[in-house]
Symmetry: C2
Subunit: 205 residues, 2 copies
């Protein structure tokens, strides 16, 4: 097997994905959906991913304007291309491992994910919130938004799992906030990072 | 919706997974398969995950003996529970972002994933190699093992994608090395980390 360069592998992969897609993708969302399929080899995302009106434009404007990104996990933060984001002036934050957050969660008897979102709500810059794991983080964010304490430029809602996950995403869909959501049980930090990277790469080009 | 503690959510999630599984799982592999399904909400892994004989015992002996772990991506490294691993004396390495590795890859005109594996092969401690993204990393590792330059305690083979991915995993299956493999196109850093965490959690208990 001959060695291919990473960019060649990626190009070839996207060709295969395009050739095997059996459902039409909404205009303007193609690169995002394909990048998620690229990250998971799971074609279910062609149907699971849903976008609020103008979500992609909202997100790209925010990123090219230098917005920051808040993730619920270190894993999602790891997967995001921070170099290109930084070229627009953006930074990625994840507060879940923060010691102040851990102590406060312990004291109040609530999850660290919840307290981490409260801390993130205090950031002064416009932010895109990216939830790839914890439905509690998404619920907490939606509580904060309803209370007028945060106004996300976009919410990427891709928590994964079996308990409260579907409900948290349906609540985001009904929230009036701009969103990109992996509907249903599926999602993950890799899915969340792939969505953000697709947005970032599209502006770089 | 009432707030549940993370451990409650996890317990309930595993109950749902057990109740929805439609295929029997091989004895001794149940917790690993269920944790991967928990991380992906994708029941395909009940059939995709394959284990070499004694793979789980090999891996647990290595971890409880204090082996280190090498990952192909920072994302897989992020997802692994390093605290519990450290309690056995183990550490997690990822060389792909290393500057020396980047320069050497550039100079030789090969992928950073390949050079990163060569660096990892120089580690003196026994290591479990965990590939969650790059088939080039897995191919490079198998070349090194064939050349007698590395002897992994276990290889977790879970690269994801459409080009060289299936072939790299089939080569691992035929290599004679102890393995846990996500067969086919699917996999990912989240899958790789979930496999390692299931191994680590089973020893902690």
């Amino acid at each position: 097997m001959q060695e291919m360069k990473p960019m060649e592998i990626e190009r070839k992969s996207f060709e295969i994905i395009a050739s095997e897609l059996t459902v039409p993708l909404a205009a303007g969302t193609e690169d995002i959906v394909k990048r998620v399929i690229h990250a998971t080899a799971d074609f279910d995302y062609a149907e699971n991913l849903v976008f609020s009106e103008n979500a992609v434009k909202c997100a790209r404007d925010a990123i090219s304007g230098g917005c920051d990104i808040v993730t619920d996990t270190e894993m999602a933060k790891s997967g995001i291309n921070k170099k290109i984001l930084a070229s627009f002036g953006g930074n990625v934050h994840c507060f879940v491992g923060n010691e102040t957050v851990a102590r406060e969660a312990e004291r109040r008897g609530v999850t660290r994910s919840k307290v981490a979102m409260e801390h993130a709500a205090g950031l002064e810059k416009p932010c895109i919130f990216v939830i790839g794991n914890a439905p509690t983080a998404l619920m907490s964010l939606l509580d904060l938004a309803e209370a007028g304490k945060v106004s996300p430029a976009l919410v990427v809602g891709a928590p994964v799992g079996f308990v409260h996950v579907v409900e948290s995403k349906e609540r985001l869909l009904a929230s009036g906030l701009p969103y990109i959501v992996a509907r249903g049980r599926k999602g993950g930090s890799n899915v969340a990072a792939a969505i953000v990277n697709a947005l970032v790469y599209a502006i770089r080009r």
